[in-house]
Amino acid sequence: MNFIPLPPELAGLENRVQWVQQVNPNELHMSCPACGVQPHHSDSHPSDRFIVWIESRLSGKPFGMCRSCGWKWSSDKSDAVWTEEEKAAFAAKRRELNEREEQRIREYAETVVMKQKVYGKYMQGMATSTYGKQYLYNRGFTSDKWNHFFGFGIIEDFKCTGYMSTYYTPAITIPIVGVSGLVEQVKLRVAEAKHEKDRFRNLYKTKTQHIYLPMREGKINNKVAIFEGEFKSCTVAMDKAKNKSLPEDVQIIGTQGKGIGARMQYTLENCEVIYLCLDPDTFIPNERGDTTIMQAAKKLGYDRVRIIPIKQKADDAILQGFNLRNAFNMAVKPNQLGLKG
């Protein structure tokens, strides 16, 4: 990483930001003075959510905004009352940044992931893999038709650089189809992981959070349901088709991990209702009393979030006969959970 010292124009941010990176002579990325950094941020994976222009188009003065929390800063005021023109300019800038990011992801998908098309090779491997089929069967993927639709494949001897050791193991692959309908990533489920942290791997370093649409709608609907993990969202999609286990107008989205990143936020910004169906551990408060589920709800907007509290992981519950539709019918608002918000 190429970190630089803060330029003199941004002296007001001194000691308030980390990991200052220069994108071009006018634009710098760094951690946010308001929402800070996440535990997973490090020197090799720095936060770049706070974007600062040394000369903003509107005022010609330094101006910064956070892609994650929306906090705004300029040399003479920080997140105070901004004029309508300034707000419009922020929104336009934000859209521009988002579009730039989407363009980058699209290009990578088309020129690297889909061009190489390794997921196709892995799919062919699955067609003849007894191990792979049995693995999927045990996880409730009993239909060849569905397995083919999801594009499940297998790497028989994936070299897993694990948390404790490096070893060879079979890995189930799944092409991650994003909002644009392109395969943006290939996700791996390490079948014989030796450590909990070894279970999932991405084949490509795309530097973004992928939004997985198991049913490949090619757009985001008005109502969405976010499930933690691609395989889980596949199980739910199958259950919805077979058992009408979700209301018809609710679109299923798989997210990578528990966190709600900037991309997820702007992709879902026009959704009217967002159902959050995360794993049970997201309801457990940390030492400060915060919970992942409430943090996710906050990022997406309390008013439009509905939470589906399930005592088990959604796919495990479905395999045991849990009726997900009932859980959706009994959804609660974040403030009804009684957790710290």
Partner: protein
């Protein structure tokens, strides 16, 4: 509220109009009706319609709670298959939350996932509550709790598919009546609770099934002397319980009164008491034509199965009734 006599004084034509409206209501709300839960009897014993109160009367240990929970379970299955967004509420002064979970789990063969997804609300005492908490669950607060479940428990207001109440006489008295000194005050309390339950059924627009205890000593209106299935005059402490109900059945578990193996002969009946033999007596079904609903006024033998369900066997019924053995 000012009394409006015109709403109560109706001509024949106006009553006919009311009849048409009710027929239309019944027709349009068939899917919201609560059918009688025992297979084979659902077409002879009328369902409880939204806004109506169904009563299950029985003596202590005769299976009121068991039958109530069975009905509730059947209602749950019907609700889930309908894909409606509603919940079933269970108000209990008899069982605790954890006891209810244990009993309902049995019906799902111990599968927690299948119970956990139930569209179900429990209102009552549970593990960790103190006696003073229990005393707070008097009728006003029960209606409040139901209203909370209806309006505030979930993201959007939640309609009730049906409400089950176990059992009326065990409802704690209102605070102003806690120092009751005579039976009359107690009777008034229960009468008042019964009326408010009836109002609750109308307010929540759903079928309301209420369990009630019948006489603990001698019955005044038993079916027969040998088959003491309670009658309309046997509801403990207050006749209003029966009066406010739109539907009423009473139950009898013979093995509580007679040793297993005893032969009972009474009128047309001739049977042997078995551990799981159970009787219901259909006392009334307001608005229902007894010609159409042939079960009204009759007695039916049922069997309690190991999972807590109730079954009816017409052949067995014929074999023990009317000398068709």
């Amino acid at each position: 509220m000012t009394f409006n006599p015109s709403a109560y004084v109706l001509t024949a034509s106006e009553t006919l109009e009311k009849k048409r409206k009710r027929d239309e209501f019944v027709k349009q709300n068939q899917h919201l009706a609560l059918p009688f839960p025992v297979a084979g009897l659902e077409n002879v014993i009328p369902p409880v319609m939204p806004g109506e109160v169904g009563l299950i009367g029985g003596g202590s240990y005769h299976g009121k709670s068991l039958f109530t929970k069975f009905w509730m379970y059947q209602a749950q299955l019907k609700l889930e298959s309908s894909l409606r967004r509603s919940v079933i509420a269970y108000v209990s002064h008899e069982d605790t939350g954890e006891m209810t979970a244990a009993q309902q789990l049995k019906k799902y063969g111990g599968n927690e996932a299948k119970y956990e997804d139930d569209l179900f609300i429990y209102i009552g005492r549970s593990f960790g509550m103190k006696p003073e908490d229990v005393a707070e669950l008097y009728m006003t607060n029960i209606i409040r709790a139901l209203d909370f479940a209806h309006k505030e428990k979930f993201a959007e207001p939640m309609p009730f598919a049906s409400i089950f109440y176990d059992f009326i006489q065990k409802t704690p008295p209102d605070p102003e009546r806690r120092k009751m000194t005579n039976d009359q005050q107690r009777r008034l309390q229960i009468a008042d609770d019964s009326r408010r339950l009836g109002d609750g059924a109308v307010y929540f627009s759903c079928p309301f099934v209420v369990a009630a205890q019948t006489g603990l000593k001698d019955l005044r209106t038993p079916y027969t002397k040998e088959m003491p299935i309670p009658g309309d005059g046997d509801f403990e402490e207050a006749k209003e319980i029966y009066q406010y109900a739109d539907h009423a059945i009473t139950i009898w578990l013979p093995r509580i009164d007679r040793p297993v193996g005893t032969r009972v002969e009474s009128g047309h009946w001739d049977f042997e008491v078995t551990p799981n033999l159970f009787f219901i007596r259909v006392l009334k079904a307001r608005y229902c034509d007894p010609v159409e609903w042939t079960g009204v006024g009759k007695v039916f033998p049922l069997h309690i199965e190991k999972d807590g369900s109730f079954t009816y066997d017409k052949d067995y019924h014929n074999s023990i009734y009317g000398g068709k053995k």
